[in-house]
Symmetry: C2
Subunit: 441 residues, 2 copies
Amino acid sequence: MLRRAYIFQTIKDTFESYGFQPIETPALERLTTLMGKYGEEGDQLLFKVLNNGDFLSKVDDDTLLSRDLDDILSKISKRGLRYDLTVPLARYVAQNQNELAFPFKRYQIQPVWRADRPQKGRYQEFYQCDADVVGSGSLLYEVDFIHIYSRVFRRLGLPIQIKINHRGLLTALIQSYGLGAEFEIATTAIDKWDKVGREGVKKELLQLDVEQVKVDSLLDLLENGDLQQIKENISGDKGEKAWEEIQFIFEQIEGSTAEQDLVFAPELARGLNYYTGCIFEVIAINGDLGSIGGGGRYADLTSIFGMKDMPGVGISFGAERIYDLLESQSLFPDAVGRHLDILFCCFDEESLKIARDYAEELRGLNMRIDVYPEAAKLGKQLKYADQVGSPYVAIIGEVERQQNALNLKHMASGQQVLLPFSKLKSSLQEGDDLKDQFSEK
Amino acid sequence: MLRRAYIFQTIKDTFESYGFQPIETPALERLTTLMGKYGEEGDQLLFKVLNNGDFLSKVDDDTLLSRDLDDILSKISKRGLRYDLTVPLARYVAQNQNELAFPFKRYQIQPVWRADRPQKGRYQEFYQCDADVVGSGSLLYEVDFIHIYSRVFRRLGLPIQIKINHRGLLTALIQSYGLGAEFEIATTAIDKWDKVGREGVKKELLQLDVEQVKVDSLLDLLENGDLQQIKENISGDKGEKAWEEIQFIFEQIEGSTAEQDLVFAPELARGLNYYTGCIFEVIAINGDLGSIGGGGRYADLTSIFGMKDMPGVGISFGAERIYDLLESQSLFPDAVGRHLDILFCCFDEESLKIARDYAEELRGLNMRIDVYPEAAKLGKQLKYADQVGSPYVAIIGEVERQQNALNLKHMASGQQVLLPFSKLKSSLQEGDDLKDQFSEK
């Protein structure tokens, strides 16, 4: 929980440094808002909430006996649980269009629910973490999102690659190579590249009405092509415009720290629908190659809710995967995950009273302090310190008490130091760390 | 949203300074966990989630036609939305009893859902904010919770009163005054004190089999009694033990800053069930008298989930009410609620490029910076700054550019200052505030 909070805080701080404001939307959305937005599978995986009170009151006996699930559902359930953060954003923007200032920049970190069969690494409730700029066609926001990805993962200490492509380039290439008539099938095939590899894609493309030599040279280009080679192989205004957009973004990133993270990936497709411009995908350089982030530009967020001409660009972070990577590569800072700095352990009631006073003073210095609530055997208290993960204990008995001192013990090493409380306090006030108490000796 | 985050952060930091660790539980709980825990009204107000797939598959035609809602519900819905944070805590503790270290100190800040008719100040989805110590009978945790309340509201700048009573004292008094036989009705009547006042309570008590003079003197004691007077009017071991507990807590608080906030409130009842020891309620000194926090000690958290002898003590904060009070009394710090520090506004493309470089550098100093994405008319850009609530804008045109400078404008006052960028940056690096840029001149 504290480790997840650390990931979210890093992302939040970065979003905010780029002027994004947080919003939250309700967990329950109308089913009319949700249904039909995620394909047939999505409709199945939506959690539907039963109307309250007499939920059968609008269903007559004939309908009940018909067992027409869609019909009955529409009469017994009006709302469902949030399935992603994009549809609620679209609903929110359409509903509040007169109050919002555009470009509208928001981020949102909230759970979503899907009735997937639960399995390792896949939960029915999980957090999504999105940022979007709605109501602007400026490519500078694409540039900002690249900086954001780069900054977040640098802060987390996780080396990444940000793949970038443009839907318009992919479209132009597919057309140049004679696959325009079967555009959707071709794109779907290419979209599977990271799962099935070049050979898998090739197999699917060869089933289409196209010469093998063309497929091979298309795949060569998608696999190894640089921007210049791509330019030479596209034609048409749309393709050229797409090329210029990618070119512009690379120019803007040039010379920044994000430059090292950004790679042109002409094979990147990111699904069939929705995206219309630049698309991104982030993968970790070490560890498995699964995506830990992605996004892109869309031409139309809200027309489905009656608001036209609302383009935008957005990205998301895959928090659960990032968590797994940080954990498996031991990249969480030591302090993250600890909820306590010191546990006070006392030998007698008198010491306990003093410990509680000390604790109150240290809490005023933003330290996280607990006091074992009774003068139990020291072994029992130390065991508790160990169980709750306190890195230090402060032991007070008669000896320490008479010197207005405490015995600070580092749990991991067993090192101990007798410290006057006033000295500990002033040292912490000056910003020292608890471990500095040992090196001074 | 940012203002709410400020309240939660203040509470979180304080909980953590007392050694509480955060937990989150899933929004969806089994209906068998939830039903029957919140009374009949609660069962009605629970949101039930329809089973996925063919939700009618376990309901035969006869059952459908019977329209027996409870029976049908049990066959079409297995889970419901979290209704509070206490039942999930109990379920969590019982389920993880072998892994947890006791005393188990957790806090939890998550939304809960209730199918109340929505109305002003009452939402179907709202946050609860609880902390509990489970598995210890130590009164020192009651003392800690008083300190926590006191610290949180001091940090928020909201003057409060923490009312304290003990269920055992109330019980002993009701018995002393001859109302023991109708104990529940008497407690329920007293519990309404803050809603119906002394006269309302009196009216209800007089309907019981008791002399008016006794009711009057009981009410006198509840209204004005101090600890000493209460002591003289109770008898029995349980009453005396309760009295000693309250006495102990006051002794522990004596001399601390929390002492000024704590008041003994013998009329405080806090509902009928659940609590068995000390009880708390927090009210704001200014503003309406509604509760903004409450809690108490319970003897048994988990036996309903098969785990016996698990006492505890907990408190909660009423975040929505606290929000309303801070807002109506203008107690939110100015900076809270702003998501931006500076918006850069440029006159031409060249300046825009420089502004974006400056922005990147300032973001590295934890500033929240946005850049208007085109060299639009200044009026349009300033309007946007105003709409998104940016307190400052930094204007760059040819003049500023030639001096490697920017024009920093304070939106509220209209004051402007021409600053070399390097000077602004080094000043911010030293921890100066943006407003200091104006006073220096």
